[in-house]
Every structure is written in structure tokens, then in C-alpha cells.
């Protein structure tokens, strides 16, 4: 196989959610001394972008998104240490968690997949994440963005509690805060003072990238 054939195969098999094929192509590529960054930026990420686009159009469904994400994750397990060695940067770090009092995680996990697919490093704190745990994790990982997920109208107020905890810890301005979940609306996000909201996994990626670009433009200006 030529490098171009490998890249095309990786793209196609990721899009099809064929985990074993993606892993085997990844290993083949590395044996051929292809750059890990090339595999990531020229095959895996474009494949997941296409998954997102198809999902948005209604051509792709949740299971297809999940298996494509899993296929990419399998390859990333091999690539991640190599990427770190070669100094390839992720586009940003996204800290994610379902708020305290809430154990729902299906939507959050889909969002994680699409964020990783877009090249974010995602740190998932799981469910039932208390405000102080978010604060500690922000201090530890220094993420660009933190995401709060809530599935219930009763747990949505934890967004405000989390934001208050960030304020109190003096780290509110260090991170972009995004919120989401089935009952959450843009209006609610605005009222609690979040920086961003998105209605689904694919929209979250777009919004996260846009917020990050805005933030970096401001910081560099």
C-alpha cells in the first residue's frame, strides 16, 4: 500500500466504524514510518468531521457516530504517545463532566467522541461531579474549556453552583465554560452566565472551536 492508500483506507474505515481495520492500518502506517500527525490530521480528524456533517444532515445516526468514535479511539491509543513525543499539539483541552446529582452520561459521551474526533484532548470526570471536583480538575489539567452536562431540570441549577465555585476559586476567567444537556437552552446558558451552549455533539464541536478561536484572538491582541 502507498501512503495515500493508507490514508484513504484509514479515512474510509473510520467513517465506517471498522475498529480492527483502523487499528491495523495505523500499525501498517507506522511500520512504513508515516508521521503520526499525518494520520491524525489527514485521515482520522477529517473522517470524524465527515461523521459530524452526516449526523447534522440526518444521514448518520447515533450508533454510527459511536462506532466511528470508537474506531478512532483505538487508533489514538497507539498514536497518542507518539504524538506527544513528536510535539504535536492537540487543538485544545476540554474538561467534561455531568453535574452533581445527575448520573446521565449518554449525551455527554457522544459529545466527548466528537470533541476527540475534532482533535481536542478530552478529560472526562464522569457523572456526579461536584463543584469542588471541577475546581480541582481545572487547577490540575489547566483545560481551555470546561463543559457541564445536565439531563434534569433539577440538576441544571448546578451550572450556577459550579460557576460560583469557579469564581470563588479565582479561576473563572481562566477557562471557557460550556453547558449542555437535554433540557438546557441557549437562554438558560445565558442566564447562568456560561460562555457557550450547544444542542448536540456536532454543534458542540463547532461552538467549542469558535469560542477557542475568539479567546485566543483576544489573548493575542
Amino acid at each position: 500500500m502507498t501512503p495515500d492508500e493508507i490514508l484513504k483506507g484509514l479515512y474510509d474505515e473510520t467513517l465506517a466504524g471498522n475498529g480492527p481495520a483502523v487499528l491495523s492500518l495505523t500499525n501498517q502506517a507506522l511500520e512504513m514510518k508515516m508521521e503520526p500527525g499525518t494520520l491524525l490530521f489527514e485521515a482520522l480528524i477529517p473522517a470524524l468531521e465527515e461523521v459530524g456533517a452526516r449526523f447534522e444532515r440526518g444521514d448518520y445516526f447515533v450508533p454510527e457516530m459511536l462506532i466511528a468514535g470508537k474506531a478512532m479511539a483505538g487508533s489514538m491509543e497507539v498514536l497518542r504517545p507518539l504524538l506527544a513525543d513528536t510535539g504535536v499539539q492537540t487543538i485544545g483541552t476540554f474538561l467534561m463532566g455531568t453535574v452533581k446529582g445527575d448520573v446521565h452520561d449518554i449525551g455527554k459521551n457522544l459529545v466527548n467522541i466528537m470533541l476527540e474526533g475534532a482533535g481536542f484532548e478530552v478529560i472526562d470526570l464522569g457523572v456526579q461531579v461536584a463543584p469542588e471536583k471541577f475546581v480541582a480538575a481545572i487547577n490540575e489539567h489547566q483545560p481551555d474549556i470546561v463543559g457541564f452536562s445536565a439531563f434534569l431540570t433539577t440538576t441544571m441549577p448546578m451550572f450556577k453552583a459550579n460557576l460560583n465555585a469557579l469564581e470563588k476559586a479565582g479561576i473563572r476567567d481562566q477557562v471557557i465554560v460550556m453547558v449542555g444537556g437535554a433540557p438546557v437552552t441557549q437562554e438558560y446558558a445565558d442566564v447562568v452566565g456560561a460562555d457557550g451552549y450547544a444542542a448536540d455533539a456536532s454543534a458542540t464541536v463547532k461552538r467549542a472551536k469558535a469560542l477557542l478561536a475568539e479567546r485566543r484572538a483576544t489573548v493575542n491582541a
Binding site: V62, P63, T153, T154
Partner: protein
């Protein structure tokens, strides 16, 4: 395999109508659309005090064949108890169907129970101690029935065994600590989206079978949960409910406007022997014929 228990009967009432849920009774369709979650325009109308959408939704659910109406007024940034009371009173002025009072806010549940005339179904509690402590005294005080989900503060268990253990806890606490009759506990066995995990259908079915064999409790679920993220959702939901009915599902919170799903559960009633001589099935057929004839004569 042990035989299913003698079915328990959950009785719900409005001032003029009684609905009985049980494995030997027709499936109870709990109409679900009176709920603003995810409906931005409806939310804004409710915030502005415009309840006209409720009138329309109640009418549509009743016409679609709902037996009970689920009313949820979970609009963020509003006075939910006040709104829920208004919605319940409005619904009771429009229909004689019993109501399922649906809120995660305890104050709203209490206000709703206080305002409701009849014997309500309350949606819902989990096996979390705090939630049971807050809601079960209200269920007792207002003589209602309660939907309970076998998850706790740690997780939504993905194994049937763990869900049965949490069901056992709910039954014990509700009956022994709060004096609630076992037949007034309706378990939601947690039917999760099949698109996100291919094993969840079997897990829910295993959970239901175990619960019906052990206690004969009534069960319900959100009918459209299973098909989340999939194409052809109506067909999936219409297949899921009859499957679940064979292992003890006796009601579902569902959109009665979808004939495909309503017909599926009514056919299952017939096939399970809960529609004797098919009288309901035949009556529904005649009603459709009459409606079609009426529509034909006006054109």
C-alpha cells in the same frame, strides 16, 4: 422458571373516571406531550401565561386514545408549582382522564397533588434516599401512586440484577417506612437508548421479567427512549412496547398521537388476552371507519 405473580392493580382516578393498571388489564397509554422540555415556543408561551398549547395537546392526546395524561411543566426560570397547578386545573376542565403529575421539583409535586381532584400517579422517584424522603410522604398524604426508577445517586445500573436490588429497596422503603401499598408502586425498569448500547434492550427485558415474577408490580417506561438517535423511531417503539408487555410492562408514557404505536399496544392487548373477544379492537376499527365515512361525506 417461576410463574408470574398474581398481578397487582394500580388504581388511578379522576372525579368521574377510573383507570386500572395491571398485567391482566388493557395497557395504560399515558399521553406524554403536555411537556415543554425541548419545545422553545411552548416554553415561551408558558412564561407569558399563555396556556393555549396545553388545550391543543390535551385534545390531541385524548383523541389519540390516551388513558392517562402526563403533565410536566418543567420550564426553567418560572414558578413551576404555580404553572403545574394551572395546567392540572386546565386539563381537568378539559378531560376526565386521570393525570400523571410529572416533576423533579418536590414543591411542584406537592402543589400539583393538592390541586388535583382524584387519585394521581406521581412521576417520579429513584432509589435515592433523599428523593424518597421528600416525595413518599406526599404520595401517602395525597393517596397517590408513584413511578419509581431503580437507579441511585451513584449510577444507572447496566445490569438487571442491580436494578432488581434497587427495586427491592424502593419496595421496602415505600411499603415499610411510608406505608404505601405495594400495588401503588409502578416501576420504570430503565429502557435506555438501543442506539448507544446494543445490550440495553435485553437488560430492560430481563429486569422486567424478574420484577414481574418476584412482585407482580406494574411497570411503565418512556416509550420513545429506546429509539433515541435511530431512524424509523415509531417502528422501533411500536415493536418495543409489545415485547415489553410480554414480560410485565403494563403502561408507557408515550405520544398517543402516533397511531402506529397505539395500535401496536392495542393489538398486543388482544393477543395477550387483555381485550376479551377483541371488543376494544373492534370498537376502535368501527370508530376509524365512522371517522373515514364522515370525512368522505364532507368532501
Amino acid at each position: 422458571m417461576s410463574e408470574p405473580r398474581e398481578p397487582l392493580h394500580t388504581v388511578l382516578r379522576s372525579p368521574s373516571k377510573e383507570v386500572v393498571m395491571g398485567a391482566d388489564k388493557p395497557f395504560v397509554v399515558i399521553g406524554e406531550r403536555i411537556n415543554p422540555t425541548g419545545r422553545r415556543i411552548f416554553q415561551q408561551q408558558l412564561r407569558d401565561g399563555d396556556l393555549s398549547a396545553i388545550e391543543r395537546d390535551v385534545k390531541a392526546q385524548v383523541e389519540g386514545g390516551a388513558d392517562v395524561l402526563d403533565i410536566n411543566m418543567g420550564v426553567p426560570l418560572t414558578d413551576e408549582p404555580e404553572l403545574l397547578v394551572k395546567a392540572i386545573k386546565l386539563a381537568q376542565s378539559l378531560t376526565d382522564l386521570p393525570i400523571c403529575i410529572d416533576s423533579s421539583v418536590v414543591e411542584a409535586l406537592e402543589a400539583g397533588l393538592e390541586a388535583y381532584e382524584g387519585r394521581a400517579l406521581v412521576n417520579s422517584i429513584t432509589a435515592e434516599d433523599e428523593r424518597m424522603e421528600q416525595v413518599l410522604p406526599l404520595v401517602k398524604k395525597y393517596d397517590a401512586a408513584i413511578i419509581a426508577l431503580p437507579n441511585d445517586a451513584d449510577e444507572i445500573p447496566m445490569e438487571a440484577d442491580k436494578r432488581v436490588v434497587l427495586t427491592e429497596k424502593i419496595v421496602r422503603v415505600a411499603t415499610q417506612e411510608y406505608g404505601i401499598a405495594i400495588e401503588d408502586i409502578v416501576i420504570d425498569p430503565l429502557a435506555m437508548p438501543i442506539g448507544a448500547d446494543p445490550t440495553v434492550g435485553r437488560t430492560a427485558l430481563d429486569t422486567m421479567l424478574a420484577i414481574s415474577q418476584r412482585w407482580g408490580l406494574n411497570m411503565t417506561c418512556g416509550a420513545s427512549n429506546v429509539s433515541f438517535g435511530m431512524p424509523g423511531r415509531h417502528a422501533i417503539n411500536a415493536t418495543w412496547l409489545p415485547m415489553a408487555m410480554t414480560v410485565g410492562m403494563t403502561s408507557a408514557i408515550m405520544d398517543a398521537r402516533t397511531p402506529q404505536i397505539v395500535e401496536a399496544v392495542r393489538a398486543a392487548d388482544l393477543l395477550l388476552g387483555n381485550d376479551e373477544w377483541g371488543m376494544n379492537w373492534i370498537a376502535a376499527h368501527r370508530a376509524r371507519q365512522a371517522a373515514a365515512a364522515a370525512a368522505g361525506s364532507t368532501t
